[in-house]
């Protein structure tokens, strides 16, 4: 009997899609070889259109609801643990390391799921101004966020490049290269976790093919780079980003409250007190 091999595709707006260019690149594992989408500039633009709508969809949910959707993702992964472990083993990790990584990834998701309805209590505050005013600083999600995930063969590292912006209400376009099979596999569980369309899109490919568009696209409000990139790439990204004063984070923090700070805008509201 012949085994059936899975075809991995990009995940955009709740659908599994090939690159419009038809191009692919190979990830050659110990047992399997996968041909996965080589994301084009057009694919990226489509993902941004989706993410723009996704930002609205994701934000109109209550924090409690978003928190449950993230928790649901951990439940889905828990149920499919074995398949993740064997995929990591096929990438060359030992069984124990694979198992630990998946367990850590689940813990990371649970941590962020529990943060969704709390972070603003940690980052916002009343400001004691010298006068009869009510003055509060609270935070809002910055909007459509692009994240380049780390190349390490790890579901946990991948998760850490997705959840910080998602937790605070950004919609996320995650881009993966060497770890892309793991990311595209994750999209199946994302698809089963009730994420609204466009809130989280996953793309695979070579970052240098889309770097100028990531920097230049005005609807991408923040680009967070979790993988070391060359000085040249960083220059191109920064120069294009400056055209719209886009926020760029190179190797941002991946733990604690500092991991979410790049993705929020502080809004301060004043009102006089009186009778």
């Amino acid at each position: 009997m012949t085994d059936i091999k899975k075809t991995y595709k990009n995940y955009v707006h709740g659908k599994f899609v090939r690159s419009e260019s038809g191009k692919v690149y190979s990830i050659d594992l110990k047992k399997e070889k996968y041909e996965i989408p080589l994301t084009s500039k057009k694919d990226l633009r489509d993902a941004v259109t989706s993410s723009k709508e996704g930002f609205k969809n994701w934000n109109q949910l209550t924090m409690y609801n978003r928190s449950q959707i993230l928790y649901r993702l951990s439940e889905m992964i828990e149920g499919n643990k074995d398949s993740y472990i064997s995929l990591l083993e096929d990438h060359g990790l030992s069984k124990i390391n694979s198992k630990n990584d998946i367990n850590n990834a689940i813990d990371t998701i649970v941590w962020y799921a529990g943060l969704v309805d709390k972070w603003e209590q940690l980052t916002g505050n009343l400001n004691p101004v010298a006068g009869e005013y009510f003055n509060i600083s609270h935070q809002e999600a910055i909007g459509v966020t692009f994240t380049l995930s780390s190349n390490s063969i790890s579901l946990n590292e991948l998760i850490k490049s997705i959840l910080p912006p998602l937790t605070v209400g950004c919609s996320v376009i995650n881009f993966s290269d060497k770890n892309a099979v793991i990311a595209l596999k994750l999209s199946e569980d994302i698809n089963n976790s009730d994420f609204p369309s466009g809130s989280l899109n996953l793309l695979s490919g070579k970052f240098e093919n889309v770097i100028e568009d990531v920097g230049g696209h005005v609807e991408i409000k923040h680009a967070a780079i979790y993988e070391k990139i060359s000085k040249k790439s960083s220059e191109i990204l920064g120069q294009k980003a400056s055209e719209s004063v886009k926020r760029i984070s190179i190797l941002p923090s991946t733990s604690g409250i500092s991991s979410i700070l790049p993705f929020i805008e502080t809004k301060t509201v004043w009102h006089p007190k009186g009778k």
């Binding site: 505050n125 101004v129 006068g131 960083s234 409250i257 502080t266 509201v269 004043w270 006089p272």
Partner: protein, 479 residues
């Protein structure tokens, strides 16, 4: 119309002592600039030359950065509570010499003494006092995570609130353990130079605060200096983008506080007389040289006529003239360049078809002046409705529904501030949630406080100044 004229009440200039020529302040002392290039700084209300300041070149910037690097060795070993004390002492000295600073600020920049005396200076002192207290609490400010200072910080500040912007930049930078090279604007360097004297007086360790005067070229040397670890800039969006581009690919922190075109939304259920006061304060404060000025009046259609009538009547009572006269509400335009920009945009507004109202008043013969102005019958695509004028010019647009108000308010690349006027609390919250702006004033406008974070969304920049959030502009997560 003014039935009662005010008698003149001029604040004496004698309190200030301006040198004929200034050097830079580097390594704890005033030094002769290596550039040997000077430029006059004038009083925009009289065009009288006040002094001559240096245009710092590469060598001057090199010297200042080297001094800040050396200063960092001492400053980073200074106990945080000692750092706090220096800042507390600076706050006290500023309070003591507050009148002197205020007169100098009004002379050099053209703003009314009423504002420099009652707004700028009290805020400056309070800002040092506020951040002084954070210096020894950095470990608890943002949880238990380890934050550390950047190191040598380059700061470039504008001419609209010269000393206030200095305090917004310098106080948090020093409190968090950084050392500073500051470049003030070339038209308004004098209060920064006087501040340098205070640093000497409190015995701030050499190299902790350095000052290089100059123009854009000096700023550019600072931005591109290899030993600078962070740049903080307040100014135009154009220059902000240039700085961001220059720093692309370098591991240098950046915060930008850029332009704005704030909507001041007046709903028909607002307390109209209070709203008129707020709208006037929102645009004519500091001659409209305010990045967060409420320069777009969005008034609900059914009250437009009534509101504009009240507004014009109130505008007519504004006193325009000598900044040192305590009765002056609107002072001089900061420079000839700025006046030209304002005139050009206003002429375009008239040519586009806007109806221009200007108050009747006599303007002084010398100096740079512009009458408080109001545009009505404006289309959303006119330049006066989209571009930052940075002068005493208000542009009116109308709306029918709250949804439309929000849409018009957000229809700009800027996102610094916004105003909401309504007596209905739920409408304030609904509107505030939807406005893309970093600071929102509801039933008030142009209020500032050292404890209150300030900064923009979108192309108005990133990072916050003020409050607990302002600390993050000068700290990075240690890895």
């Amino acid at each position: 119309m003014n039935n009662w004229e005010y008698s003149e009440s001029i604040e004496s200039e004698k309190i200030v002592n301006i040198e004929k020529k200034y050097g830079n302040f580097i390594d704890g002392k005033f030094v002769t600039p290596k550039s040997k290039q000077y430029i006059d700084t004038i009083s925009p209300s009289t065009e009288k030359i006040l002094s001559s300041i240096s245009i710092g070149n590469q060598q001057d910037v090199d010297y200042a950065v080297a001094s800040a690097k050396e200063g960092l060795k001492k400053w980073s070993k200074t106990n945080p509570s000692e750092r706090a004390k220096y800042l507390f002492k600076l706050a006290r000295l500023i309070q003591e010499r507050s009148r002197e600073f205020a007169v100098l600020e009004s002379l050099d920049g053209g703003k009314p003494i009423k504002e420099s005396r009652d707004f700028d200076l009290p805020q400056v002192a309070q800002n040092f006092f506020y951040y002084a207290g954070w210096a020894d609490k950095l470990d608890i400010a943002w949880g238990s995570e380890q934050y550390k200072p950047y190191g040598v910080v380059g700061q470039i500040i504008p001419w609209n609130f010269p000393l206030l912007m200095l305090s917004w930049k310098v106080a948090p930078a020093l409190a968090t353990g950084n050392t500073v090279v500051l470049k003030p604007a070339e038209t308004t360097p004098l209060t920064a130079l006087l501040f340098a004297e205070l640093c000497e007086e409190v015995g701030l360790p050499d190299g902790v605060f350095n000052l290089v005067t100059g123009d854009g070229s000096t700023g550019s040397h600072l931005v591109n200096h290899k030993d600078i670890k962070k740049i903080a800039f307040t100014g135009s969006t154009g220059v902000g983008k240039y700085i961001q581009k220059s720093l692309a690919g370098r591991d240098v922190g950046l915060t930008l506080e850029l332009g704005g075109k704030a909507a001041n939304i007046v709903y028909s259920d607002a307390a109209l007389d209070e709203a008129v006061e707020g709208v006037v304060n929102g645009i004519f404060f500091n001659q409209g040289h305010v990045c967060c000025a409420g320069s777009r009046l969005l008034v609900q259609e059914d009250i437009e006529e009534k509101f504009i009538k009240k507004l014009e009547k109130r505008m007519q009572t504004l006193n325009v003239g000598n900044p040192l006269d305590k009765n002056t509400d609107v002072g001089a335009i900061n420079s000839k360049d700025q006046l030209d920009k304002i005139e050009k945009l206003v002429n375009e507004g008239v040519a586009d078809g806007g109806d221009l109202f200007q108050i009747e008043c006599e303007l002084p013969k010398n100096g740079f002046w512009f009458k408080p102005s109001l545009f009505t019958s404006v289309q959303a695509n006119y330049k006066i409705a989209t571009e930052e004028i940075f002068g005493p010019v208000l542009t009116t647009l109308t709306f029918r529904t709250p949804e439309e108000a929000v849409e018009i308010a957000n229809n700009t690349e800027y996102g610094l501030s916004a105003g909401i006027w309504t007596e209905k609390g739920s409408k304030i919250l609904w509107t505030a949630d939807r406005l893309e702006a970093g600071v929102i004033w509801a039933n008030t406008f142009n209020k500032f406080d050292p404890a209150s974070p300030f900064g923009g969304y979108k192309e108005s920049g990133f990072g916050r100044e003020g409050g607990r959030h302002g600390l993050l502009s000068y700290l990075k997560v240690s890895s």
